[in-house]
């Protein structure tokens, strides 16, 4: 097998965050390559670079046919080299029909009769990959179910007008497909590879990776940590490779707080999709982690807690003040037109008002206190919040929550894209505040952060699947619980 494209020392950083570091990888023609790794391991960045959607910060790509093509490697060049990519988030235009979406991908479909040609092209491919799909090429994509949209997107990637397709990249292609349709896709993929095509498959379903790839690459922290033939791996080995192997310092020295069974929990909810009676509970002064793969219902659980507590708040004796630290700063977090100070004090308005008006002195005092306490790096708290780096903006959001009178603090994966130094400072602060009796509910996709938790609930498909406390919180256990589904699915289909 000869290489189709070779990556030499490819890296990518966003500001201080190193999303990908020095990746060497050969993608061979006629081979299905599986890539696995935890959230944020760099998989998506890697394929974005291959597809030309992002340019790497350093390193080079070498194509076997035409030699090096960096810098200036863009989407059109990727297409000219026969690379097609199905991205994780659905990327069709919902206002266009299936046929029109096919045309978007192919500049060559134009002129008189283009619609008929686009229609035939996508219909034939859909028939070939997903027999019995029931999709009309004139359907508007926005009207289709999510599974059908994913089918259209996959079929579209396989359509061919002029240049041949050499490499197909599929990022979580089966996430919205049922088992039968997923099998159809994997079968088609096998046929494509057998005819000499290269393919990259990213999936969180480990069985799927083991079953359909020839070679598996394991990524962690923006680098490749293992690269072997698929038959040399099994589930356990993959899970082990994805986690940090040398994690001795883990829970040593930390003693789990004993939960007293007689006292009332401060928070107790049952996720909507929970089949059994398991509940998410948090006692006063605890740091409770919500773990699992991203998007498996953790944020919904936080919202549920908020709504339930607010309902309880109608009766004064049950009212518990709460605050949320947003993970998606741009959307849920900062007020982009306000100063740093205003962004912090907005959470504490109740304490700062005197006879209905804001007390400017108390406001200034609060600002000054928190600037020192949390070490926000700025010459002046009256500067615009956007003048801060991402990490410092996040600190300001923490300050907003901590400065308020909230007893429960909900955190929605707040450390996304924050550098390690800031993280350490914030961890310190969270532990301190928990010691003072505040309760933290912390959704995180980063394993290291779970070490700071007294209690961890692992989520999968909107339900709690594991409930770990103290010493039980190990990366191994969390990963096991997060990935168990694939075995369930296998048993069900068997």
């Amino acid at each position: 097998m000869e290489p189709f494209v070779t990556l030499d020392g490819v890296g990518k950083n966003y500001g201080a965050v190193q999303a990908l570091q020095h990746v060497d990888l050969q993608i061979l023609a006629g081979q299905a390559l599986g890539i696995v790794g935890h959230n944020g391991a760099g998989k998506s960045t890697l394929i974005s670079i291959l597809a030309g959607a992002q340019s790497p910060s350093d390193g080079k790509l070498t194509f076997q046919e035409s030699g090096t093509s960096l810098p200036g490697y863009k989407v059109d060049q990727a297409q000219a080299h026969g690379i097609r990519c199905v991205f994780q988030e659905l990327s069709l235009c919902p206002n266009l029909t299936v046929a029109e979406n096919a045309r978007i991908l192919h500049p060559a479909i134009k002129g008189i009769g283009w619609k008929a040609r686009a229609r035939t092209l996508i219909s034939e491919k859909l028939d070939e990959v997903f027999p019995g799909h029931g999709i009309n090429p004139d359907d508007e994509v926005g009207d289709l179910s999510i599974a059908k949209r994913q089918m259209v997107e996959i079929a579209r990637a396989f359509t061919r007008v002029e240049s041949p397709i050499h490499l197909i990249i599929l990022d979580e292609p089966t996430s919205s497909l049922d088992a039968i349709i997923a099998q159809q896709l994997l079968k088609h993929l096998r046929g494509f590879v057998d005819q000499g095509g290269a393919c990259i498959l990213i999936s969180h379903l480990l069985e799927e990776i083991l079953q359909s790839s020839d070679r598996v690459v394991v990524m962690r922290d923006g680098g490749i940590v293992d690269d072997r033939a698929a038959r040399d791996f099994d589930r356990a080995k993959l899970v082990e490779a994805m986690g940090s192997v040398a994690k001795e310092h883990g829970n040593s020295g930390k003693t789990a707080k004993q939960r007293s069974t007689d006292s009332q929990p401060l928070v107790s909810i049952r996720p909507a999709q929970q089949g059994d009676t398991r509940r998410l509970q948090a006692y006063s002064g605890e740091i409770v982690g919500l773990a699992g793969l991203s998007g498996h219902g953790q944020t919904d659980a936080l919202v549920d807690i908020y709504l339930e507590k607010r309902r309880d708040g109608q009766s004064p004796q049950k009212a518990v003040p709460m605050a949320l630290v947003a993970g998606d700063r741009q959307v849920d977090g900062v007020f982009p037109l306000w100063s740093i100070g205003m962004n912090i004090v907005i959470g504490s308005m109740r304490q700062l008002t005197r006879s209905g008006l804001i007390d400017p002195e108390a406001e200034a005092r609060l600002c000054k206190d928190w600037r020192e306490k949390i070490a926000i790096r700025t010459p002046d708290m009256n500067n615009n919040i956007l003048s801060l780096s991402g990490g410092n903006q996040q600190k300001a959001l923490f300050a907003r929550a901590l400065a308020s009178d909230a007893e429960i603090i909900l955190m929605d994966d707040p450390m996304r894209g924050v550098d390690i130094g800031t993280k350490q400072e914030v961890y310190e602060m969270i532990r301190e505040e928990a010691g003072l009796g505040r309760t933290f509910l912390w959704y995180t996709t980063e394993m290291d952060e779970l070490e700071h938790c007294d209690h961890v609930y692992v989520f999968r498909n909107g339900a709690i699947v594991a409930d770990l406390s103290g010493d039980e919180v190990t990366e191994q256990r969390v990963l096991q619980a997060s990935f168990e589904e694939s075995t369930d699915a296998q048993e069900r289909s068997a």
Binding site: V75, Q79, P94, N95, E100, G111, K115, E140, D143
Partner: protein, 312 residues
């Protein structure tokens, strides 16, 4: 449910034609004499400039932007048309071409600097108004002879406005809804990232749509002075809101690249007729704008209703 989705879509696309028919029937009922060549001609006289302005607005809405300067722009074009275009046609044509280029440049600026289109176009509206006042400080001027003749031409059978509107609606329909590049441009409204990832230039798409908007703005201004024979800087200020209302009435949506050129032209006609309808009802001019708003709300409420039944 599956079979119901396209039918609700069909109902929705028929709604603009339906509202136009209802208003037309109501007018004929109140004023049977309007049911003649002459009557229709009078009723629809002002529809063509509004239809052009609505199409201009629709081009901008296609790429998820909004043009709050189109009224002032049409006013400026009218002033240029009634002065320079009449006195020295070459200069007039050159200035109008420059206007179209300015619109394309505005689209480029909005895309490249990632500015909100509302802010830029609102700012530009003062610029156009100021220019118009410089060109024609007091109402007056004279429309070129050929423009007047074209606008007062009496076609056989039906008023010229109807033929012209139908022709324009069809041409734009083919350009945006049926051509292969039209699909790309609408895709920019639907999911710009996906279009960009397929290797298309968003900048080019936005510039072309803004240029097209400028082109229709020019047509609107010229056709307007053909009817009024003279111009005034403030002549078309209300076109800004009328054009937005026309697009929405015609089945378009503010975001997401969902547009309908035929619907937009029908929407513009409905709005023109609504004004006459209210006069026939002897509603005092003080209340007319409010009543026009009420008509808009009724049509949009119908649309929401159709959408709801479609979802069930």
């Amino acid at each position: 449910m599956k079979s119901f989705v396209p039918s609700s879509r069909l109902l929705r696309s028929l709604l603009p034609a339906f509202s136009l028919t209802v208003i037309l029937i109501a007018i004929f009922y109140l004023q049977p004499r309007a049911m003649s060549y002459f009557g229709l001609n009078l009723l629809l006289n002002l529809a063509l400039p509004i239809a052009f302005a609505t199409l201009a607005q629709m081009c901008v809405i296609t790429v998820n932007d909004l043009d709050l300067g189109i009224g002032a722009f049409v006013g400026f074009v009218a002033c240029v048309g009634a002065t320079w275009l009449n006195e020295s046609p070459l200069l007039g044509v050159a200035v109008l071409l420059l206007c179209i280029l300015a619109y394309a440049a505005m689209g480029a600026l909005i895309h490249l600097r990632n500015l909100p289109s509302i802010v830029v176009t609102l700012g530009m509206s003062f610029f156009w108004l100021g220019l118009a006042l410089l060109v024609l400080p007091t109402p007056g001027g004279k429309a070129p002879e050929w423009v007047r003749e074209a606008m007062t031409f009496k076609a056989p059978g039906l008023p010229t406005t109807i033929y012209a509107s139908a022709l324009v609606a069809l041409v734009v329909h083919f350009a945006l809804m049926r051509s292969s590049y039209g699909a790309v441009v609408r895709g920019v409204g639907g999911n710009p990232r996906s279009v960009e990832r397929a290797g298309w230039s968003i900048l080019k798409a936005k510039m072309s749509m803004y240029a097209l908007a400028g082109f229709f703005g020019v047509l609107s201004g010229i056709s307007l002075i053909g009817l009024t024979t003279s111009a005034d800087a403030n002549i078309a200020l209300r076109y800004t809101l009328l054009s937005i209302a026309g697009v929405i009435l015609g089945g378009g949506e503010f975001v997401g690249g969902r547009i309908s050129p035929v619907g937009a032209v029908l929407g513009a006609m409905t709005l023109t007729l609504a004004a006459s309808f209210l006069s026939f009802l002897r509603i005092s001019p003080d209340w007319q704008i409010g009543a026009q708003g009420a008509i808009l709300i009724i049509v949009l409420a119908l649309r929401v209703l159709i959408n709801r039944t479609g979802k069930k």
